[in-house]
């Protein structure tokens, strides 16, 4: 036992095994655990979840914006990705404003949300319905320009009343 512990052979073998390539699966596993933990954390953190959904919607609007500005040709894939992000937000957001999340997590959610919960939820439902309808309707540049802009225009309606000004 003592001889095994002091033997240099297994140690050097172990060192050899720690080449970057050999570490890759380990890193992946660690990353998976880390992401998994992050997701689990977000599951219990509605403020983080709604921020992530909002950011996903915002980010998804960039490519369609470039198309509307004429900087990029029409491409159905990112447009559908944006509409799906909006659809997902419309579906999930109403469940992410429990009473104990009025403050904390640097939230910009206004107290008015909880005072007008029915209106707030109805606006999300409309957002989901509008993005779902647009997903079915948008097939080309013309149908994109006809139905997409009104959906993003509706964002301001809620951000006017339900986001804290700062």
């Amino acid at each position: 036992m003592t001889s095994q512990m002091t033997s240099p052979t297994p140690v050097s073998r172990a060192r050899r095994a720690r080449s970057p390539l050999a570490l890759a699966p380990l890193a992946l596993a660690a990353a998976a655990i880390f992401v998994g933990a992050g997701a689990a954390l977000a599951q219990n953190d509605p403020i983080a979840q709604r921020k992530a959904l909002m950011k996903a919607v915002g980010d998804s609007t960039r490519a369609p914006a470039a198309m509307l500005k004429g900087e990029q040709p029409f491409d159905l894939v990112p447009v559908q990705a944006a509409l799906r992000a909006m659809q997902a937000a419309g579906k999930q957001m109403p469940g992410l404003f429990p009473d104990d999340t009025k403050t904390g997590g640097d939230t910009a959610a206004a107290a008015k949300i909880w005072e007008n919960k029915a209106d707030f939820n109805a606006k999300w439902a409309k957002f989901e319905a509008d993005s779902t309808a647009a997903l079915a309707r948008v097939t080309d540049d013309a149908s994109f320009k006809a139905s997409y802009p009104d959906i993003v225009r509706s964002c301001g309606g809620c951000h006017q009343d339900y986001r804290v000004r700062r």
Binding site: V57, G58, D59, S60, T61, R62, A65, L68, K69, G70, E71, P149, V152, R153, C155, G156, G157, C158, H159, Q160, R163, V164, R165, R166
Partner: protein
């Protein structure tokens, strides 16, 4: 003693007369039959949305921008203002107004009865509006539905509740009523943009800091500052604040209500976007062209949240 009383009385009366003379509300336009002709309601609709009238005058808690019953509370450091009814109702709204009445209200901040309006109504910007636009706007306002009911009176403490004092305020801070003329050295697009931004759009009213008396700080015009009601902050819209924004980005933001990063223009800007989105896209491009031509100005430091 008697001499002292007389002297005090002379000073007091003299001061009062001087104050009265200095603060007399001055109309910009006199009633003119020619003004009443040829108003184009369709063009007036564009003037209405460019001027952002609905943002303050539409009846709160409903979505129709042409329901102009007023009543919205505008909080300020000087008290609360309540936007009046500007629907076509003959008694509660402005249904009996002539074009000259609207012109004096917008250009000089003077009511048909000859009293001062508070600068919560942005006559300080509208002073440069062209008379033909006022005429067309009046034609349009005659077509919107009559809404019954008057907004409550402004809720202002002394001395701000004395309308006559606004004569002094105007002498200090309000530009004279004069239609903004095109600069022939610039493109028609730039001139259109300047007209929209500086007069009808009244962008400077919120996007500039104000001094202790509520006058705009000229050196920081468009450089952002506290929201007029004290809640939140308006961004700098000189090229300093719009760093990285293209002309297309600004035009898109004023139409779709989203920044290039995909953030939503909320707060009071949401209503502005709803209005400006009603204009032809050439107007949004013109606004962008003008904003990007402004000198870069540093605004007041924004407090940490």
């Amino acid at each position: 003693m008697r001499r002292f009383v007389v002297a005090a009385l002379v000073v007091f009366v003299g001061g009062f007369v001087a104050f009265w003379a200095l603060t007399v509300p001055r109309a910009a336009v006199s009633a003119d039959a020619a003004l009443e002709r040829d108003g184009d309601a369709a063009r007036g609709r564009a003037v209405f949305f460019a001027g952002g009238c609905a943002s303050c005058h539409m009846t709160p808690k409903q979505d129709d921008p042409l329901r102009l019953g007023g009543g919205l509370e505008l909080k300020s450091p000087f008290g609360s203002f309540y936007a009046p009814n500007i629907s076509s109702h003959p008694a509660d709204g402005i249904g009996r107004w002539r074009v000259a009445d609207l012109a004096n209200a917008m250009l000089a901040g003077v009511s048909p009865a000859g009293s001062h309006y508070y600068p919560s109504f942005p006559f300080t910007s509208y002073a440069g509006v062209r008379l033909e636009d006022v005429r067309d706007l009046m034609a349009f306002l005659r077509t919107v539905p009559a809404v019954e009911g008057r907004a409550r009176d402004h809720d202002l403490p002394f001395p701000f509740n004395l309308r006559r004092t606004l004569g002094l305020w105007k002498a200090m801070f309000a530009p004279a009523a004069a239609p903004l003329r095109d600069d022939p050295a610039r493109t028609p697009e730039w001139n259109r943009g300047r007209y929209l931004v500086e007069t009808l759009g009244h962008c400077a009213e919120c996007h500039s800091p104000r001094n202790a008396l509520g006058g705009l700080v000229a050196a920081q015009r468009f450089a952002g500052g506290p929201e007029p009601d004290g809640q939140g902050w308006t961004p700098n819209i000189t090229p300093l604040g719009l760093k990285g924004w293209t002309k297309g980005d600004i035009a898109y933001a004023l139409d779709a209500g989203l920044t290039p990063e995909g953030d939503s223009l909320g707060a009071s800007m949401a209503a502005v976007v709803r209005n400006i989105a009603q204009l032809p896209k050439e107007d949004r491009a013109a606004i962008a062209e003008y904003l990007l031509s402004l000198p870069a100005r540093e605004g007041p430091p924004r407090p940490r949240k």
